[in-house]
């Protein structure tokens, strides 16, 4: 038992060390790249314009990033969240992929097994994305007419609704009584305040908070 605890701690410690190291290095590479490219092109970024742009569009994404960090880190565990935030495409790919893997493996959130499954799932998902994109870029010229044909366009425009429709069946079926309230609240809000439709990612927080509150109230009642 003691040996297992030492192993767990050691794995977790090394995950944090590795995660922090690669996150710092990736940050450096991503922020540095525009300057290296600027030097290559002979025109450095205009920091004033970038600052103004950040105030107009960046702040929304900053808030969204904080929400994503608070909500998704418990789902993904430490290794999974380091990887997911480095590789991106969380909502349309990594989160559903990791949750699907977790359900398939039958592991509980917050356990060591969940940490392993979620890390494996996100790493594989990221590698597949990198591979598909690399192949796509390689074949970009011949593939462009097919992939961007008007016939297929509605399919690719609706990847996210297709994903959430399938997930909705899975999760609503698991607890329909709980699902009714957040769905009704969100539908009413989006119907009465159409401007919210461009802020869906921010609305995840109140919707999730309501679902968790209701789940907690029921759990307290059942105890």
């Amino acid at each position: 038992m003691k040996e297992k605890n030492v192993r767990n701690t050691s794995y977790e410690q090394r995950t944090h060390l590795l995660g922090r190291g690669v996150s710092a290095l990736t940050l450096l590479l991503l922020v540095g790249a525009p300057f290296v490219i600027g030097a290559h092109l002979g025109a450095m970024p205009d920091l004033g314009a970038a600052g103004r742009g950040f105030l107009s569009v960046g702040l929304v994404w900053m808030v969204s990033s904080v929400v994503e960090f608070l909500v998704y880190t418990p789902m993904l565990g430490s290794g999974g969240s380091y990887l997911a935030f480095i590789t991106g495409n969380l909502i349309n790919m990594k989160i559903p992929c990791a949750v699907n893997a977790r359900d398939l493996a039958g592991v509980k959130a917050g356990t060591k097994e969940n940490e392993i499954v979620s890390t494996l799932s996100i790493a594989v998902s990221s590698l597949v994305t990198i591979l598909v994109l690399a192949l796509g870029v390689l074949l970009l010229q011949p593939l462009t007419p097919v992939l961007s044909s008007p016939v297929l366009r509605p399919a690719f425009d609706n990847v996210v609704p297709a994903l959430f429709g399938a997930m909705a069946y899975k999760y609503y079926r698991a607890d329909l009584r709980l699902a009714v309230w957040p769905l009704v609240l969100m539908s009413v809000l989006f119907v009465l305040l159409p401007s919210l439709q461009s802020q869906t990612s921010i609305m995840i927080m109140p919707s999730g908070a309501l679902a968790i509150l209701l789940a907690w109230l029921r759990w307290k009642k059942e105890r």
Partner: protein, 268 residues
Amino acid sequence: MTILEKLSDGTMYLICGGIIAFVAVVCLVFAVRAWREGRAIGMDPGLMKKVIKSSAAFSVLPAVAILLGVIALSGALGIPWPWLRLSVIGALHYETQVAQGAAEQVGIALSGSEMTAGAFSTIALLMSVCILWGMVLNLFFNKKYTSRLAGKKTGGEKGSFGNRAMTAMFIGLVSAYIGSYIGGFVSGGARLDFSGDAVPLLTAAAAALAMAFFTWLSRKRGFSFLEEFSLALAMLVGMAAAIAFRALLPHGAEAVSGILRLVTEGRG
């Protein structure tokens, strides 16, 4: 040499491809560590292989959709930069919006014909800075946050709520999106005018039906192998249905809106 040719030259591929290769190695290292640790704590290798296969199958379709994002942005930003952005840290729904906002700040439209070297490097910087906060938070707070959560889950009954909370959170997440599709249709043009786009809502419904069908096949009809592919297959059905809905929608939307208006006026 035009600006778009410069943005897709060998040096650009080298810079962007190098960063992508680094991230691919990071993913491999995490995967190998997780696999070894799973074996060491006695997890079933067959189960871990199932997770890998399912995750790979699940990711192919969304990855193709992300590739379309690369194609869409390549007209204004060349190929290598959108390739990098959407392979590392970026998100399909984010990149176009921020690139557009950044282009406005440098006083151009987001198009290849108006792009300049200075505008590109500024847009590239803004695209990088706006979305890196999740990584920054992870860098400084992941350890503290996950340790605190791990501390809370210990203690028998309380641990079981952690799992319920995750399911509830996902119900909340799905509800936000489904609600937005309902709102997008009912109040897409103006409040309660039923003239918005119904395709996302119908696509979600088609995918949900397909998911129900595949779940039934895998659980009740003995096609258990379908379980790990059901989500990807349901998405595929939903996406195929979106093509049909888009083709039929002009008439469908008018019919639905017309019926709803008649009902509303009749009641009025």
